[in-house]
Amino acid sequence: MVQINGEAVNAAGKTVGAYLKETGIDPQRVAVEYNNKILSKEAYDTTQMSDDDVVEIVNFVGGGC
């Protein structure tokens, strides 16, 4: 299982790009951290996820003080 945003997901073998497409997430609107390193957008379609990988997918939300 791959840890994506804190949840175990059955996504081993898929590329990051394919996972984003499948879940309806616009790759232009997110940043992806793959095993603690920022993954460049060009690498989304070539990075194949494996069991125990840790992936964070984030975007901007409202925030202030």
Partner: protein
Amino acid sequence: MEKDQLVIGGHAFDSRFILGSGKYSFELIDAAVKHAGAQIVTCAIRRTKPGEQNIMDYIPKEVTLLPNTSGSRTAEDAIRIAHMARELGCGDFVKLEVIPDTKYLLPDNAMTIEATKVLAKEGFIVMPYMFPDLNAAKALADAGAAAIMPLGAPIGSNQGLASKAFIQILIDEIDLPIIVDAGIGRPSQACEAMEMGADAIMANTALATAGDIPMMASAFKSAIEAGRKAYHAGLGRVLVRGGAPSDPTTGTLHG
């Protein structure tokens, strides 16, 4: 008079009001930004939830986005979130927040200094949120901060300038823009901070919890401009005792 601009990390802004975008509906962001005259809007970074509406559809294109590192409990967390922010592609600005304390949400100055050093070296325009302490502010300046953002009172409290005397020391001693962040609850408090010589004000909760958000944004804009003008004009003196007439003392009916 020269154009009175706020300059942060080489970027010049006419507005001295930094607006938060939290705690209110996206539909109101545009109106709030316009009424506030804001050119800088803060936002946060969170895990993506598929299908959720995206704030980027609501932020006017002409504003500078200032991502914060809220949710960071350590310097490492903050650095990580700053990297994510930069990858999201809205420039190099980062409002650095390192807050291990969950009760009062007070920033940790030591870890904030540590993170500032790293991020400034990486080319970020670092705007650290801090507890107003002169020594920490000097260390942040040495670490490469582009502005200093001392708190007026705990985040979201609307308590105003509880730390007024210490913010004044930063204004007097630190050669960077001082932006009062957190705690400002009403326009009069924003005005007072500007009269003291603060370079800008950041507010969110004061608007988000107001009855009419765009109208309150406009009220803050007026207050900040009034305070800035008063600062430039130089405030009139205060008499500790007695009074002094404003009218001629001769020619009264008493001779």
